[in-house]
Each structure stands twice: as C-alpha cells, then as structure tokens.
C-alpha cells in the first residue's frame, strides 16, 4: 500500500499496539477463564512463557521504547534492584504517561500506561500496591477518600496516607521518581486518571487473588466514581474498569446460567454506561460495553435481548481490533442460534481472521473456530481438513474432527455415539444444541451417498443402513430429500424402492455459472476494498495536478504542432494533387 498519511500513522499504530499486545494478555485470558476450562489452561499458561521469552531474548529496539521490557530485563538480571521498589517505580512511571495524556489530550499515552499493567501484574501484591498508594496520596488531598477505599479493598486499611518521609527505601524510590520525571513532583494534587489507574491495579490484584466478592464491591464503587467524573482522557481507562467490573460479576456466585447471578444486576449500569459513551463519542467504552452486554446476555441465554441490542446499537467502526473480533464472535453466535447460518458464517469467519494470531489469544481463536466449524456443518459444507492440522488447535478440535468425519460419511450411528461421548465438551463449548441440529444433515448426506452409489435401492435397505426407525420414515425422509434437491431420484411406492436418476452433465446446469459469478464477485469486492484501503500522502495531488497541467500543456502544444503539420501535409497533398 502506498504510504500512509504521515500524521495519522502514529495514532493508528498506537491504537493497534494497545489493542494487540495488551488486551489479549489481560483480557482474553480472563475472559475465557470462566468459560472454558480446557482452553483456559493453555491461555493462562502462555503469558509467562512469552514474558520469559521477552526477557531472555534481548528486546528488539522497538520504537515504542517499552518500559515494560526494560523492567522485565532488569528483574531477570537478578535481585540487585529491590523488586518492591522496582515495581513501585514502574507504577509511578506510568503517572508521567497519564499526565502527558491529560496535558496533550492524547489517548496514546493512556493506552501505553494500560499496556504496562500486564507486566506489572506479575509482580503486584497488595503490600506493594498499598505502599504505592500511600506514597502518592496525601492524607489532606481531595482524593484521599478514593485512596482509602482502595486500601480497604485490598485489606491494607491500616496503612496511612502521605508517608513520603518514611523508611529509607521509600526515600530512595521517591528521589528516583523525582529524578526520572520532574514533572511529577510539581503536580500536587493527584489527577483522576491516576485514581482510576490505581483503581484498575486494585481490581487486578483482587482478581488475581480471587477475592471476587470484594472485587465486585470495589468495582461498583469505582464505576460510580467514573460516572461522576466527565473527562475525555479517562475513556480508555474506564473501558478497562467496566471490563473488570463485568468480569467480577460473572465470577461471583451464583454463576451465570442461573438467573440470580449478579450479571443480571449490572445490566442497567452497563446500559447507562453505553448511553453515556455514545453521547460522548467515547469509542473505547462504547465498544467494550457493547461486547460486555452481548456476552452478558448470551451467558444467561437471553438471545432475543442480545438480538435487540445489536439491532438498536451501532458498533463503533474504529474500535480496537480485538473488540471487533469479540463483537463479531458474539454476533455470529446469536445468529447461529437463530438459524441464520449464512450471516453467522460471515461473522465468525471475520472473527477468526481478526483474532490476534499470536499465541496469547489462543483461547479465543479456538472457541471461534469451534463455533465456525459447527456452523459450516449446519450449512451443509464440510470444513477444510487443514483447519484441524494446526498444531495449536489440534487437541482442542479433536471432538469436532470426529464429528465432521461422521457428518461427511453420513453415518448416523457414529454421529450419535460421538455426541454421547463428547456431550460434556460440546456443552461446555456451548455448541451442544447446535450440534443436535446436525442430525438432519447427517441423514441427508447418508441419503446422498446411497443415491450416488446405487442406481436402485429398496427403502428397506436405506432404512437399515441409515439406522432409521422404520420404512415409512425412510420413505418420507427420502421424499423430503428429493423435494429439497439433495438428490435426484424418484420413488416407487408400490414396489418400495428408490431409483436414482442419471446424473446429468453438471456443465449443462447453472452451477458453473454461479460458481463463476461468486468468484468474480469475490475478486471485485477485493478490488473495491483495496481501493478503499489505500492511503495517499497529503498534498501529493497538487504535485500531480501540476504535472498533469504541464502534461496537458505539452499535449496541447503537440496537438498544435500536429495540426500545423497536418495543414502542411494537406498543403503538401494539395500541391501533390496539383502536380
């Protein structure tokens, strides 16, 4: 693609990075944790391994100059630097980012601060957090109340605020912080962004230590606080807060499928947040909250509500890539349940493609792929074998592989044993009811196989081979298959057999034309999209215009010359004739 608009690039880049690198680590892992134990193991295991890779391999000098990477390195170097002080420093270094975000009104800095959470998260303990809080807030400052709430939530309410001249270690870190960013010292009062940032850290700590009830209560308080402050620079932070809020609600007993689960209770809050976000054009929160609401409805199987939500809201176009992927997944799920397979297929394909390809979001890709496979089967297609060969997917998809085999062959007996064997897996994946609907497809495939292999077969044999209940059933089923265009055959009722019609020449039908049309359409769509995706450098067109003008002038001159030449020729001709 030709060069992007120079001043737009960094923003896009920042947005993408924030979306791609940070969220899967923190979010997906949490997201899938409650739902899929099997996948969850994989996703949870992955981040540390990635971190170790990061610290062992010298980090490629990224333009972003990652604070997090340096830290990981330092931490790996040994215990030379006190890890506690180090972590506190890391936390504090983010304040500078947040300050800049506010001062320059640029969301990129907040995103960067958010991104560092995943690296801080591994070293964060309630003690460290309490220390950081107590050093940041003065007991007299306006937001001391917030700080106290946070301390209480992490069970460190005895720590007093404003402890700067405390033990030597703190002086040490303070001076370091001051040295690093002098800006920090001048700002006396703590900005709300920092409050919320601490709030998110508190949520993370509570979530990691599985204090779900406490976390839920604290999140409620935090959400209240966010709603009372109207600052655009808080947008990306508040999206994160809502995410943890909903996560806590989801994991607090009674667990989701029960209608008494707290997730039902948080719906009004989320809806209010959505309304506010839309009014304030707060894309981050809007996208996050829509996804959360959809997930919320689907967890309690309120399909019609989810459908209504989708039809009444518009998902922001420039939302982070990961939110788009999630949104598409949930949308595809809703459509699949509503029997709108074509739409479901479209959304799920997009979701699997948009899912981050790195290993940290494996759970999401697996879940989306599973659902996509089932939808493909329901549409009567047989999924590609290569899908099952990917090393990251192979084990997770194994039951589905068996299922596809049974459907492909049309063996009803196999199909039913597979369902019975893997019922728990399918139930956990939420695909069980969809898979039950496959039964008719299996029968249809079976009949098609029969019709292809025999030119004439008695209904009795069909009944036996396909394990159908009775001959009468077989007759009705075959008749229906003929009507639906599954096979080309005729039934003879008196003698009780099915006679397959000669398979006509495919090229005489409209099928090749249709396939051709589909391909052309795909190519055209690709062309259109690539044209739309093109970016042109600013003001380049003026240069071109100038060039064009020059060219035109040259052309005109040339035309003139030719004209003159023509005249000459004419004259010549005239003379010639005259001669």
């Amino acid at each position: 693609m030709p060069g992007k608009t120079p001043d737009k690039e960094p923003v896009e880049n920042g947005g993408y990075r924030g979306g791609k690198d940070l969220k899967p680590k923190g979010k997906k892992e949490g997201k899938k944790a409650s739902k899929k134990e099997g996948d969850d193991e994989m996703t949870v295991v992955v981040p540390p391994s990635k971190a170790s890779k990061q610290s062992s391999v010298p980090p490629p000098n990224d333009a972003e100059g990652d604070v997090a990477m340096d830290d990981a390195d330092k931490a790996a170097e040994g215990e030379k630097v006190d890890p506690v002080a180090q972590t506190i420093n890391d936390i504090k270094s983010n304040f500078a980012l947040l300050d800049r975000a506010v001062a320059l009104f640029d969301a990129r800095f907040s995103l960067r601060a958010l991104r560092s959470i995943s690296s801080i998260r591994k070293r964060l303990t309630p003690d460290i957090l309490a220390q950081a809080i107590s050093e940041t807030y003065l007991s007299s400052s306006a937001s001391a109340n917030v700080a106290r709430q946070m301390l209480e939530a992490i069970g460190q309410s005895d720590v007093s605020l404003g402890r700067q001249p405390g033990p030597e270690m703190e002086i040490d870190s303070e001076s370091k912080a001051a040295g690093k960013n002098g800006v920090k010292k001048e700002v006396k009062d703590v900005i709300p962004e920092v409050d919320v940032f601490f709030g998110i850290l508190t949520q993370v700590v509570l979530h990691d230590s599985k204090q779900l009830q406490k976390g839920f209560e604290f999140s409620q308080y935090l959400v209240e606080r966010i709603r009372s402050v109207n600052r655009r620079t808080l947008d990306s932070l508040s999206a994160k807060v809502y995410f943890y809020y909903s996560l806590f609600a989801e994991q607090t007993a009674p667990l989701p499928p029960s209608p008494q689960s707290p997730i039902v209770g948080i719906r009004p809050t989320l809806l209010a947040a959505l309304r506010t976000a839309v009014l304030r054009k707060d894309v981050d929160t809007q996208a996050t909250v829509i996804v959360l609401l959809l997930r919320n409805y689907l967890l309690t199987s309120h399909i019609s509500q989810a459908d209504l939500l989708v039809s009444h809201t518009q998902f922001p176009e420039n939302a982070a890539n990961n939110q788009v992927a999630r949104f598409l997944y949930y949308l595809g799920r809703t459509r699949a349940i509503q029997l709108r397979y074509t739409e479901a297929h479209e959304h799920l394909t997009a979701a699997t493609r948009k899912a981050p390809s790195s290993a940290c979001a494996l759970g999401f890709s697996q879940t989306a792929t599973k659902l996509l496979l089932v939808v493909e089967l329901l549409m009567g297609d047989i999924p590609d074998r290569a899908t099952f060969r990917q090393p990251s997917m192979e084990t997770a998809l194994h039951p589905y592989f068996l299922l596809v085999q049974a459907v492909r062959v049309g063996n009803l007996g196999d199909f039913e044993t597979i369902i019975a064997e893997h019922a728990d897996t399918f139930r956990r994946d939420g695909t069980y009811t969809l898979i039950l609907r496959l039964r008719q497809n299996v029968i249809k495939t079976g009949i098609r196989m029969m019709s292809l292999s025999y030119s004439r077969i008695s209904l009795r044999d069909i009944c036996i081979r396909l394990h159908l209940g009775s001959e009468e059933s077989a007759e009705y089923i075959v008749a229906k298959a003929i009507r639906d265009g599954v096979i080309e055959a005729a039934l003879d009722r008196e003698r009780g057999f099915m006679k397959s019609k000669e398979v006509g020449d495919v090229y005489a039908t409209r099928e090749p034309g249709e396939a051709f049309h589909d391909r052309i359409r795909a190519c055209l769509a690709l062309h259109d999209e690539s044209v739309k995706a093109m970016r042109f450098p600013m003001n380049q067109h003026r240069l071109e215009l100038k060039n064009a003008q020059e060219a035109r002038e040259r052309e005109r001159e040339m035309a003139k010359e030719i004209q003159e030449g023509d005249l000459d020729e004419d004259d010549l001709g005239g003379e010639f004739e005259g001669m």
Binding site: T300, D307, I337
Partner: protein, 268 residues
Amino acid sequence: MADRELTQLLARLKAAPPSAPYAETAALLSRAKLLLLQLGALTPTATSSPALLALARDTYEQGALASIRAKDPDAFTRYVAQLRPFYELLPVGGEEGERNKVTGLYLLLLLTQGLYGEFHSELEALSAGGGGVDVEGDRYLGYPVRLERWLMEGSYDRVWKAMKKGEVPCEEFGVFSEILTSQIRSEIASSSERAYPSLPLSSTKSLLFLESEGAVVEFARSRGWIVKDGQIFFPSAQETGEEEQEKEMSQMVIENTLGYARQLETIV
C-alpha cells in the same frame, strides 16, 4: 385480605373443568388480575415477596392455559411474556408450578407458526439457563423438541403417531394437532409431487394420513392433482418451472454481465 381472596379465586380456576366456557374463566381471571394490582404484584419487582410472586405466577399460568384451550394464540403469547419475569425472579428448585407445561406449549406454538428462529432461541435459553433442566427428558418440553426434530428430518409418520391420543402429554397440547396435521400433510404433498411419478389412490390414503379415498380425491383436487384410473398423476410442475427457470437464468446471466461491465468501467 386480598391475597386470601386471590387464593380462593385461584383454587376455583384450577378446579374448573377444562371444558368450562372461556368467558367464565376470563371473568375470573380479570378479577384475579385486579386483586394482583391491589397487592402491587401485577408486575414483579425485586422486593415483592416470594409468596406473592408465586400467586401472581399461578394466575398468569392459569390464564395461559385457559387461552390455549380457547385457541387464542395471541392471548397465550401475551401471558407467556408476562410470565417470563416471574420465572426469572423465583428461585430455581423451589415450587416449579406449571412452568414446563407452559413453556412446552409455547414451543409448540412457535413450531406451528413456523417461527423456527424463536423456537431455537427459546430452546437455547432452556438448556443453558434454568439450572440444568433436562429438556429432552421432560414430559412437556421433550414433546415439542422431538416433534421439531422429526419435522426437520422428515419422519412425518412419527409426528403423526406422536399426535395420537395417549402420546400427547396433556390435552392442551392436543389443540395444536389439527394445525400440525395440516402442516405435515401439505409438506408430504409437496414432497410427493417431486418424488413420485404417480401414486395409486389406495396407498395415498395412508401416505397422507387421510380417512377415506373420498378424502384423498378431494385433497388431490385441492392441490390440483389429476386422478385417473385409480392413480394420481402430478401435473408436471417441472415443465412450466423449467421454462421459467430458463428465463430466470438468462435474465441472471444478462444481469451479471451488465454488472461486470459496469465494474470494469469503474476499474479501468
């Protein structure tokens, strides 16, 4: 006061024979609803007491069943919608009331109206939510689920058998059998048109679940089939269809080509 009166009313409603005239039940029901209004339990709130909720739920359930008996699907759908919040609020595992029966009826209604999307949404809600209701094992819920499966795969004979007396879980479900019968009959007819070159009259009777050959002839006439020498011939819908298809196809080709031309023009 009011709640005692309501309990009495409910007892009367429940005791009333299924054949009781709808007008009578409707009168009782509207009195019950007035009482609910006085008690402030017409619409559920998180604060209303479980006992009241149960009373209100019972009232609506009786209303739903009565409207089904009166063959009033709109009223029934309304009652189901009103019942839904009560089912969400009342704890699972407590006294279930007629929940499964009403839900089963609702599923069947959706099935007969051909609203398969809603049917499956409802089913999904049942199997995921509600604390592990065994959908297929339940007497009331399993029935519509099985019917749907058979209808989809085309085992119409099983549907027919399931609609006979004794197989139906309770009489309210029987209300739908008439609609279902005509539904499967037209399904069978449309597939027979394509599947058989011709059919003998005598066996068509059993194929279409009709009572007599006279009924077969009548049915054949209504579908426009030709009856000749004890055989039914289907007017070859294909021929006229083929011509149309041909037309349609050439139209499609023209349209596509024009489309390509237009696209090419924009590209070049």
